[in-house]
């Protein structure tokens, strides 16, 4: 907790309904966030059991300075991913970090399986496991509406919930946090569903006296000023991440129609500008963030004759416009928003759902699967059929959608279409086909996400591509992000939270750490992750990459698989060197 060296962990065992709080001073050497979550996962995970076994834990954690500085707004979730079978790590914003801090916990460990559909209500010291039978089966947005009225803590609570896809344990089901944010990637929704937990509500009324007001507020103001008065963050506030749609397409790096193409001819139609002009109705923020990057798009839809319309508002971002737009060949903003809406309601990761459907579409074209399988004829550009297919996927309507709900890798292997299954180590790919650093980055990254080491950015920043330089950059970025994620800052602010700022912010909040100590913490966290991944049977050299990545030209042209293999080996050597330091 703030100003303290102890890490307060709430343990909830759903099997026996037991709740325990432990003050873990030993965890302070991991600082917080992903550091303590990795350590807690290492302690509680059961590598010998399947990912959805009741014994497997869900861990939520915040950092040492969560909620008291601008953009220190995220919460990390760690679990055994049902999608990849190895380390699951996902981040969400919203109000969760603040709510956990006010409830008085640095971390929460949930294990066991409830005896009936339940939701967990954490209100400071009071933890209750309540009956969720009447809300089981509900769409994600409706659950939120019900719980908002029946639970306390308006204005300072956070509500996590799953949709039908989580209940059905679709392996890439997501958890919705406070309506517009998510633990999206790697299937935390399925893990919650497997424990029969429909929702988690967190609130509290903790207060904490500021110990050194002058230093703290000076630090706060400096950071606030850089956020609001420089152009460091303006991209995220103005058009938002959607600004990248046109530029990435122009680079020849935007996966389109299941990556049969690397640019979308109609990118302009679903660009950041197009969404801003046609759909954008408001912007919102996570608690404590003056940027407000959450872009809400609205569209209206006719549901009956007699001028009967309904309006729909959903949050959009670059990755969603890629996965439910260009990747499915959808060139209309309203149709992309409609697909986002259905994905939201059913509670699935938008990237994974889009990639799975793109795979199904191409498989149908090749005759690998039949229309009897897909129920509706899936064709690129037909959003109406995709919206039906999303529902089929979430409810695992027939044996085909049952199989697709296991993930794109699994479906590709089962039906014989793995060459065009856009996944790396089981995780469906984000919206970049920039080149070597991206592909290697996704493979070696701790959670196979573009956010592990920003390979897409490394590809764009290196003028003359040099494999060793790229590998070094990926490694250094992954390491530094272990530190940033131990504070659980929003990675949009990664340039702002340089070492100098981090040290100052920590010092003013009672953590007088040195630069060398921060490096040591980052190395300790990364080493722990690498050890854990090894224990879970992961070896990046064994990852089989789909042929499609080497067939469709990237921004850097056609990629050579031997070069990728070489870079992965070089990366593994760097990891081995880190592990040899025995931190």
């Amino acid at each position: 907790m703030l100003y303290e060296k102890t890490i307060k962990v709430l343990y909830i065992d759903l099997a026996v309904g037991k709740v325990e709080v432990k003050q873990r001073t030993d965890l302070s050497e991991y600082l917080g966030g992903v550091g303590i979550a990795t350590k807690l996962l290492e302690e509680t995970v059961k590598p010998e059991l399947p990912p959805l076994a009741p014994e497997q834990p869900i861990i939520l954690a915040i950092g040492a300075i969560s909620g008291i500085y601008p953009l220190v707004t995220k919460t990390v979730a760690m679990f055994l991913s049902p999608l990849t079978g190895e380390m699951g790590e996902s981040y969400a914003g919203g109000r969760l970090a603040l709510a956990l801090s006010m409830a008085g916990y640095d971390a929460v460990v949930i294990s066991g399986k409830a005896s009936r559909p339940s939701y967990i209500a954490i209100e400071g010291d009071t933890v209750q496991i309540k009956d969720a039978r009447p809300i089981w089966g509900m769409d994600s947005d409706v659950v939120g509406q019900f719980l908002r009225d029946s639970e306390e803590g308006r204005g300072r609570r956070s509500i996590l919930r799953i949709g039908p896809a989580g209940e059905k344990m679709v392996k890439f089901a997501s958890v919705c946090v406070d309506t517009y944010r998510h633990f999206g990637r790697l299937g935390l929704g399925a893990t919650m569903g497997s424990k029969l937990v429909k929702a988690i509500i967190i609130s509290g009324d903790n207060t904490t006296k500021i110990q050194n007001f002058k230093d703290y507020f000076r630090s706060y103001q400096e950071i606030f000023k850089s956020v609001t008065e420089t152009d460091l963050m303006s991209k995220y506030h103005d058009l938002g991440t959607a600004i990248n749609v046109e530029s990435v397409s122009a680079l020849g790096a935007l996966p389109t129609r299941n990556l049969t193409e690397n640019h979308f001819d109609e990118a302009e139609e679903i660009s950041g500008e197009a969404f801003a002009e046609k759909s954008l109705v408001r912007k919102m923020a996570c608690t404590g963030c003056p940027v407000g990057c959450i872009h809400i798009g609205q569209f209206r839809r006719k549901f009956d004759e007699g001028y009967d319309y309904e309006s729909v508002s959903v949050a959009y971002d670059y990755e969603l416009i890629y996965s439910l737009g260009s990747l499915l060949g959808i060139p209309k903003t309203d149709e992309v928003l409609h697909l986002i809406e259905v994905v939201e309601k059913t509670g699935m990761d938008a990237i994974s759902a889009g990639v799975a459907l793109a795979w199904a579409t191409e498989s149908l074209m090749h005759g690998i699967v039949s229309e009897e399988d897909t129920i509706v004829p899936l064709t690129f550009g037909n959003s109406e059929n995709y919206s039906k297919a999303i529902r089929y996927l979430a409810s695992r309507k027939n044996s085909f959608y049952e199989a697709l709900g296991e993930g794109t890798r699994s479906a590709g292997a089962k039906f014989g279409g793995k060459d065009h299954a856009l996944q790396v180590a089981g995780n469906e790919i984000p919206g970049y086909h920039t080149g070597y650093a991206n592909l290697v980055g996704l493979t070696v990254g701790a959670r196979h996400s573009h956010l592990c080491n920003a390979g897409y950015s490394v590809d764009q920043s290196l003028k003359d591509f040099d494999e060793q330089k790229a590998v070094n950059k990926l490694f250094d970025e992954e390491l530094e992000r272990c530190l940033l994620n131990s504070l659980v800052i929003c990675l949009f602010a990664r340039k702002l939270y340089n070492r100098e700022t981090v040290l100052k912010a920590l010092r003013a909040a009672g953590y007088p750490l040195t630069d060398a100590e921060l490096t040591l913490i980052a190395k300790r966290i990364y080493s722990t992750k690498l050890r854990l991944k090894e224990k879970l049977g992961f070896d990046p050299r064994q990852v089989e990459l789909p042929k499609r990545f080497f067939k469709t030209p990237s921004m850097q042209g056609i990629l050579d698989s031997t070069m990728v293999e070489r870079m992965i080996s070089q990366y593994v050597e760097k990891c081995e060197a880190l592990l040899a330091e025995k931190i």
Partner: protein, 136 residues
């Protein structure tokens, strides 16, 4: 002398920077529960944000009227100032405020009232809050 008004709440992004800085500056606390301004959602996050804060009542000031010790004194421009030494923590002011903008600090046993200092205005990134000349 100026008073603070939440003038453009339609533009609010819900970052709560106003609450974080009000608590920090006026109560030296990290908790948003110590803030004199409160941002709430109406109807969940898909609804609009509302600011529950002192309306700077001028001539008829219910909280000052009900205060049995005179600890809440009228500000010339509107609103009140709290004289902590005179406050006995009776909470009558909390119930007297029609818009429910007085919060009770259970630790200090004193009410939290907005003194119209304007720190929240400085940290609002979207121009929702303003310091305005006193209303005639």
């Amino acid at each position: 002398m100026k008073v603070f008004k939440a003038v453009e709440m339609n533009r609010c992004i819900g970052c709560l920077s106003c609450m974080i800085t009000c608590s920090a500056v006026n109560q030296q606390d990290h908790s948003i529960l110590k803030s004199a301004i409160r941002i709430k959602t109406s109807g969940g996050l898909t609804g609009k944000f509302v600011a529950i804060v002192c309306q700077a009542c001028k001539d008829d000031v219910p909280c000052a009227e009900i205060c049995p010790t005179g600890a809440l004194k009228k500000r010339p421009a509107g609103g009140v100032l709290l004289d902590k030494d005179n406050c006995i923590g009776c909470e009558l002011c909390v119930g007297a405020c029609t818009v429910e903008a007085i919060y009770f600090d259970q630790e200090a046993k004193k009410p939290i009232v907005c003194k119209h200092c304007g720190v929240c205005v400085r940290f609002c990134p979207h121009g929702c809050l303003e310091l305005v000349e006193e209303v005639q």
